[in-house]
């Protein structure tokens, strides 16, 4: 079918809508990919989302899906849906750069990352590798080698990181879906600054096989999208045990897409107080209060020792990150982003007993959080302390203290991922810039967080705003 006969603009559609349009024959996968590649050519020079475009591969996959339909075979749930993957995911034929210059010397990957394979098995089509902060040690979305990814809502501002290119590609309407990683907040921070829905699942839920690591104790992978339903569809396609990732739980898939429309009725929800009510700017609290009011939440709950939890996550990250890179520090120190290199060197000098203390505290803190989840089903908290800072901004003032942006945008995300709790970040469309709210659920209850996100979306309280630029 010629493109003129297919007037649907897939860049304005959700993943679910694209898959439905391909299934019904209202459009076809080849047209979806053609339109996506055109959009990438037009918008990527400004947004700087992609470090590689996998056009030929995407066109071949699209043709295979269209053949499948023409032959009358059933199409999978994400048929024809284009997606991007942060460039720490292995992509067959490309060196996995993980935001670095150093990794470009690696041999091309022989096989795709497990989550790319799973999304493509569900019919989705990879269109490119996304820009990211070097080795994921970043909350800004800036990259000294590839340039910063730019926030589609104001291109002078940060996307947040480290999954900045993934977020810019989804918020900028280049793709409806992207794969990202979150060690301390790298899905939730860019979701907040770019106005997206982001799911950081329970630690161990989604396989990390063939993704370049950062901090094995804390690394999670997950999706970014513009709707709760798209998050759920992608998440369901990616679940399941995987012997190739020792941290991946031996749990059967636990599909959530059929559950999200149940909404939040009957769920006990509280707002995090104490640590999560200090330090942030006006926009963070405005967004949080708007979400809480819409859900009729009037209960506060104190997460005990959250500041210490954040500190412990910081220590484990510094030490494990340095352990991963110490050989590269010895041989190629000048090839790192200086901001990353200096943090890694400092991490290499942390005495082991202090790191072990952080791991002991981690278990204590987890036990306290599980006690809280006997009282409530979910907790709301800010995602970031502010809306998107200017690109290049080094410090901001929180609670009267001038602090580095790079290390502190994840102030509210770190104490949560520290113990692997599932979180959905939902976008609250404030003017002029959006900001996110975290919906935090007990381990393995992604469904609870997604049901609440869906409720806020249905109410119009949470929505991914269309960029004005």
């Amino acid at each position: 079918m010629a493109a003129d006969d297919l007037p649907i603009d897939p860049t304005s559609l959700s993943a679910a809508e694209i898959a439905q349009a391909v299934r019904s024959g209202a459009t076809n996968a080849a047209w979806v990919i053609e339109a996506t590649l055109v959009a990438a050519r037009m918008r990527d020079p400004v947004l700087n989302c992609f470090t590689d475009i996998t056009a030929e591969r995407a066109q071949a996959r699209a043709a295979a899906i269209d053949r499948q339909r023409a032959e009358g075979r059933p199409l999978p749930p994400l048929a024809g849906v284009p997606f991007a993957a942060k460039n720490l995911f292995d992509i067959k034929g490309l060196p996995t750069r993980a935001g670095s210059a150093i990794n470009r010397d690696r041999e091309p990957a022989l096989r795709d990352a497990a989550l790319i394979e799973r999304l493509e098995a569900a019919g989705a089509i990879l269109v490119g590798a996304a820009n990211m902060g070097e080795y994921a040690y970043d909350f800004t979305g800036e990259n000294v080698h590839d340039g910063p990814s730019r926030n589609p809502h104001d291109t002078t501002r940060m996307t947040g990181g480290s999954s900045g290119g993934s977020a810019a590609a989804v918020a900028g309407r280049l793709v409806p879906l992207a794969l990202a990683s979150d060690t301390n907040g790298s899905i939730r921070v860019p979701a907040s600054l770019c106005g997206l829905f982001g799911l950081k699942p329970t630690y161990g839920r989604l396989t990390r096989a063939r993704a370049f690591p950062f901090v094995s104790s804390l690394d999670h992978l997950g999706p970014l999208a513009r709707s709760t339903h798209d998050l759920a569809l992608a998440y369901d396609a990616m679940q399941g045990a995987d012997a190739d990732d020792p941290a991946c739980a031996e749990r059967a898939a636990d599909p959530v897409a059929p559950l999200v429309a149940r909404g939040a009725d009957g769920l006990r929800i509280a707002v995090a107080s104490g640590y999560f009510r200090a330090g942030a700017g006006r926009e963070s609290f405005m967004a949080l209060d708007r979400a809480a009011a819409a859900l009729g939440v009037n209960r506060d709950i104190e997460i005990p020792e959250a500041a210490r939890a954040r500190a412990a996550a910081y220590v484990i990250t510094a030490s494990e990150g340095a352990a991963l890179h110490i050989d590269r520090l010895r041989t190629r120190a000048r090839d790192f982003d200086p901001a990353v290199r200096d943090r890694l060197f400092a991490g290499a000098m942390l005495p082991a007993p202090l790191v072990q203390k952080a791991q002991v505290f981690r278990r204590w803190y987890r036990d306290r959080m599980l006690e809280l989840f006997a009282q409530v089903d979910a907790i709301l908290a800010p995602a970031t302390p502010c809306t998107a800072p200017e690109i290049g901004q080094k410090t901001f003032v929180l609670d009267g203290r001038e602090l580095p942006v790079r290390a502190n945008l994840g102030l509210y995300t770190q104490p949560i991922s520290f113990i692997g709790l599932p979180v959905v970040a939902v976008p609250i469309p404030l003017t002029p810039l959006p900001i996110g709210v975290q919906i935090i659920a007990p381990p393995w209850r992604e469904d609870v967080a997604l049901r609440i996100a869906y409720t806020l979306e249905r109410m119009g309280v949470a929505t991914a705003p269309v960029p004005s630029t």
Binding site: Y314, L329, R330, A346, A358, R363
Partner: protein, 93 residues
């Protein structure tokens, strides 16, 4: 500059004499700093022991990051927990 024996990497324009003189001066300077701030001494010793090729220009930022790391670690370490407390990762054979 903190030197790792194998990693010393001087600008090529420096003569050997100048480089040696500057190295001595830097070493004296580092010793003076180490006397005034224990963190300088720790940083220098750790860089030597771990063979980390840290250049002089990088020192202030690394020191600042190390100070934050240690501040964070202290906040965790001062929290009292019983001796029998298990760390989060548990190895299972």
């Amino acid at each position: 500059m903190i030197y790792s024996e194998s990693m010393a990497d001087r600008p090529k324009s420096l003569s050997r004499k100048n480089a040696a003189s500057k190295k001595m001066s830097r070493t004296r300077s580092a010793r003076t700093q180490a006397a005034s701030d224990p963190l300088d001494g720790f940083l220098q010793a750790a860089a030597h022991a771990l063979a980390l090729p840290i250049e002089a220009a990088w020192l202030p930022a690394i020191k600042a990051n190390l100070a934050v790391n240690l501040e964070m670690a202290s906040l965790v370490a001062e929290f009292p927990l019983p001796d029998g407390s298990e760390p989060a990762p548990i190895f299972r054979a």
